[in-house]
C-alpha cells in the first residue's frame, strides 16, 4: 500500500507542477473571473438602461382607467398630457423615455418612443407591455390580472415529486449539458495523459526499473489513482470557481436565480464521472502498455474516445424523444452514460431507476476494465519497440 501511495503522490506531484496543467487549471478560472466582471458591468449598465421614469402619452385614452403610475422592476410609468409636454420633460431629463401611443395603438400596438442619449432597454419595453396588458385588464382583480398576464407555468415532475423540470428554465437546460461537456473534456485530457505517461515510461525504459521495484498491479493502481486525483482537483477547482461566480452574480442577474440542479442528479453525475474516469484510465493504461509509440496509441484510443462523445450523434433523437428507447440505452451504456444523462436532465425528468442502473453498470464496467488492464499491462509493458501480438493479448485476458 505504501508503494501505491508513493506512486499516487509522485504522479500527482509531477502532473500538477507542470506549466501545462497550471495553465489548463487557471484558464477556465480566468474565463469565469472575466465573465463575472463582465456580468457585473453589464448588469450595472442594464440597470441604467432598464430603470427610470417613462412618460406615456395616450391621446385616445386607450389606457383610460389605468392607474397613473406603476412601478415594475425599477421602471415607473407616468401619464403625460401631450407629446409636447412629454418632450419638454424628456429634455429636462425628468423622464428616461417618452412613449407616445399612436391613434392605431388599440389595433396594432404602435408606439413612438423618444429618448435622449440611450434607447430604453428591452426590460422597459417588456414592462410597458405588461403595464398595458394589466391596465387593459383593470376590471379584474389584481391577482387575476397578474395570472392572465403571466400565463400558465408548467413544472414537470416525477410521480414521487423527487425530480422536477420546468421548460422555461433555460439555464437548467443548458447547465447540465455544460457540466457534461466539461466532464467529458476532463476525462479525455486525463485519460490521454495517462496513456502518454505509460508510453513515455516504456520509451525511456523507466518501466524496467519500476517493474523490478513494484508489482504491475501496484504500478497501475498508483498511476490510475494519481491521475484520478489530478483530474478531480481540476474539476473541483473549476466547480468552486463557477459556484463562486454564480453566487456573486445571482443577485444581479435574475436569470441565474432560476438555476436548480437536484442532488440526485449531481450525485449520479459525480459517481458516473469518477467510475467512467477509472474505466477510461484502465483502458488507456492497457493501450499505452501494448503499443510501441504515441501515434499508435492515439489510433487505438480514438474509437474509445468517440464512444464517449457518441451521444452527440444522437442529439436529434434525444431532442425529439428524451425518454425514448435510444435515450434510455445511451443512458445505461457505460461509455455514453454521463453525457446522455446530462443532456436528458435538461429536457425531461430522468427516472431514478435509470440513474441507479447506469451507476451500477458503470461500476461493473470499471471493475472489468481494471482487471483486464491489469493483465494486459504486464504482457505489454516490456515489449519495447514491438507490437504485442493479438494472440498474446487474448491469452492474457483468458480467465
Amino acid at each position: 500500500m505504501r508503494k501505491i501511495i508513493t506512486i499516487i503522490r509522485e504522479e500527482y506531484r509531477r502532473r500538477v507542477l507542470r506549466k501545462e496543467f497550471i495553465g489548463l487549471l487557471l484558464l477556465p478560472l480566468i474565463i469565469i473571473a472575466i465573465g463575472t466582471v463582465i456580468g457585473f458591468i453589464t448588469s450595472e449598465s442594464l440597470d441604467g438602461e432598464n430603470r427610470g421614469v417613462v412618460g406615456v402619452v395616450d391621446p385616445r385614452g386607450v389606457l383610460a382607467g389605468a392607474v397613473d403610475a406603476r412601478a415594475n422592476d425599477g421602471v415607473t410609468f407616468v401619464r403625460v398630457k401631450g407629446a409636447e409636454d412629454g418632450r419638454a420633460a424628456l429634455m429636462r431629463e425628468e423622464l428616461r423615455a417618452l412613449y407616445v401611443l399612436r391613434p392605431s395603438f388599440a389595433d396594432d400596438g404602435a408606439v413612438d418612443a423618444f429618448y435622449l442619449s440611450k434607447p430604453p432597454g428591452n426590460d422597459i419595453e417588456r414592462a410597458f407591455g405588461a403595464y398595458a396588458r394589466t391596465t387593459l385588464l383593470n376590471e379584474f382583480e389584481p391577482a387575476v390580472r397578474a395570472r392572465l398576464d403571466e400565463g400558465a407555468v408548467f413544472t414537470y415532475q416525477t410521480p414521487d415529486r423527487s425530480r422536477t423540470f420546468a421548460r422555461d428554465d433555460v439555464l437548467t437546460f443548458v447547465l447540465p449539458i455544460l457540466i457534461g461537456v466539461v466532464l467529458i473534456v476532463s476525462l479525455m485530457v486525463g485519460a490521454q495523459y495517462l496513456m502518454q505517461a505509460v508510453i513515455d515510461e516504456k520509451e525511456n525504459r523507466t518501466i524496467e526499473v519500476l517493474i523490478t521495484s513494484v508489482t504491475p498491479r501496484q504500478l497501475m493502481a498508483g498511476k490510475i489513482l494519481g491521475l484520478t486525483a489530478v483530474t478531480l482537483t481540476q474539476i473541483v477547482t473549476w466547480g468552486l470557481g463557477a459556484t463562486a461566480a454564480l453566487l456573486l452574480l445571482r443577485e444581479r442577474i435574475p436569470l441565474l436565480r432560476t438555476i436548480s440542479l437536484d442532488s440526485s442528479f449531481l450525485a449520479a453525475m459525480g459517481a458516473l464521472f469518477v467510475l467512467q474516469f477509472l474505466m477510461y484510465a484502465a483502458i488507456m493504461v492497457a493501450i499505452g502498455s501494448a503499443v510501441t509509440d504515441a501515434k499508435q496509441g492515439q489510433a487505438i484510443s480514438t474509437p474509445f474516445i468517440l464512444l464517449a462523445i457518441a451521444p452527440e450523434f444522437f442529439l436529434p433523437a434525444l431532442f425529439i424523444d428524451p425518454n425514448g428507447v435510444i435515450a434510455v440505452i445511451l443512458t445505461l451504456f457505460p461509455f455514453t452514460s454521463p453525457f446522455t444523462l446530462a443532456f436528458r436532465y435538461g429536457m425531461t425528468t430522468v427516472p431514478g431507476w435509470q440513474m441507479l442502473v447506469a451507476v451500477a453498470l458503470m461500476a461493473a464496467a470499471a471493475v472489468l476494465a481494471i482487471v483486464a488492464a491489469g493483465r494486459l499491462f504486464r504482457v505489454g509493458l516490456l515489449r519495447f519497440g514491438q507490437k504485442v501480438p493479438l494472440g498474446e493479448l487474448f491469452d492474457a485476458l483468458r480467465i
Binding site: 525511456n204 523507466t206 526499473v209 501480438p389
Partner: protein, 298 residues
C-alpha cells in the same frame, strides 16, 4: 559448500517464433561477483529479466535468494538495466528519492543516503538539475545510485561501465568492489572482458540462447591455456630445447612448449642463458577476450 543466491535451471523463452533463450543453466553463489557474458543477442538480457521476474520463462526454473522472486525480494535486489531508465524531466534528487522510496526506503533515510552518494560521485552540484541536462556519464552515475541506495543483497547490473570515462569507470568499479567486500552478490553483464578478468569470480557465457561456458574465471583461463609461458626479459633469448615456437605480445615473448615439456625445464634454460636478465616469467594464460572469441567464433 557455497550458498546459492541465484539458481537458474534449463531456462527457455520464446517471443513468437524467435527463441531468445534455449537452455541456460547456472548458479550464482552468495557474495561473489558473477559474470554473465555473451555476444549481442545471445539472450543475456532476457535471462536477466527472467531472473528478476520481469518475464516468465516458458519452461525451466529460477530461484532468487532462496525461492521465487516476489515483492519482498524486489526491495532486496538492485537492478541496473542495460538501457537506462530515468525520468528525464525530473530533477536528479527527485528522481533518486522516488525510485528509492519504491524500493521501500523511507524518504528521510533516502535523502541522507542520496546526499552521501551525490558527494561520493561528485553530483552534489547537479542534484537540482533535470536529468536530461546531465551528460551521459553523469546520468549513468545517477542510475547507479538508484541501484545501490536501498543497500540490496543482490545486484544485477547490465553494462555498468558504458558511457563512463576511465576516471568514472574506476570510481564505479571501486564502488562495486566495496559492495562485494560488504558481502553483496553481484551479477554483472558486460562486454568489457578485462573487467571480467579483474572483477569476476565466476562466469557463464551464453551464446545463441545456451550456456556454453561456465565456471571460475581462473579455472576457465587455465582450461583454455596452451602449453606456453610468457617471458619478459632484457637480452636475446637463446635457442631452447622443447620450445617449438616463439611469438611476441607487447613487450613479452610467448614461448610455445612442445608436448611433455614442463615450464621448469624452460625456466632452467633461461636462467642459465648468459647475459639474459629475466624480469617476468609466468604461465601464458589466454585473456577472456581470446576465450570469448574462440568460444563464440567457433
Amino acid at each position: 559448500m557455497n550458498e546459492t543466491a541465484i539458481s537458474v535451471k534449463n531456462l527457455k523463452k520464446s517471443f513468437g517464433a524467435a527463441q531468445a533463450v534455449r537452455d541456460v543453466t547456472f548458479d550464482v553463489h552468495r557474495g561473489e561477483i558473477f559474470g554473465l557474458l555473451g555476444p549481442n543477442g545471445a539472450g543475456k538480457t532476457t535471462t536477466i529479466r527472467m531472473i528478476l521476474d520481469i518475464f516468465r520463462p516458458d519452461s525451466g526454473s529460477v530461484s532468487v535468494l532462496g525461492g521465487p522472486m516476489d515483492d519482498s525480494k524486489n526491495n532486496r535486489t538492485g537492478y541496473l538495466p542495460e538501457e537506462r531508465g530515468l525520468y528525464k524531466d525530473a530533477t536528479v534528487a527527485n528522481c533518486v528519492l522516488y525510485l528509492a522510496e519504491l524500493k521501500g526506503l523511507a524518504r528521510a533515510e533516502a535523502k541522507t543516503r542520496a546526499a552521501a552518494y551525490f558527494e561520493q560521485l561528485d553530483l552534489t552540484a547537479h542534484k537540482k538539475k533535470k536529468v536530461q541536462d546531465l551528460s551521459k556519464g553523469m546520468q549513468q552515475k545517477v542510475q547507479i545510485i538508484t541501484t545501490l541506495i536501498h543497500k540490496p543483497e543482490l545486484l544485477v547490473i547490465d553494462e555498468p561501465f558504458s558511457g563512463l570515462d576511465p576516471i568514472n569507470t574506476r570510481l564505479i568499479q571501486d564502488l562495486l568492489l566495496a559492495q562485494h567486500r560488504e558481502g553483496v552478490t553481484i551479477v554483472m553483464s558486460t562486454h568489457q572482458m578485462y573487467q571480467v578478468e579483474e572483477m569476476c569470480d565466476r562466469l557463464v557465457l551464453i551464446n545463441k540462447g545456451e550456456s556454453v561456458l561456465y565456471g571460475a574465471v581462473d579455472e576457465i583461463r587455465r582450461r583454455y591455456a596452451d602449453n606456453a609461458v610468457r617471458v619478459v626479459a632484457v637480452g636475446d633469448l637463446p635457442p631452447m630445447a622443447g620450445v617449438h615456437e616463439t611469438s611476441r605480445k607487447g613487450n613479452a615473448r610467448v614461448l610455445h612448449l612442445a608436448e611433455g615439456v614442463t615450464t621448469q625445464q624452460v625456466m632452467r634454460q633461461l636462467a642459465d642463458a648468459p647475459g639474459l636478465l629475466i624480469e617476468s616469467f609466468e604461465l601464458a594464460l589466454p585473456t577472456m577476450d581470446d576465450i570469448f572469441v574462440r568460444v563464440v567464433g567457433a
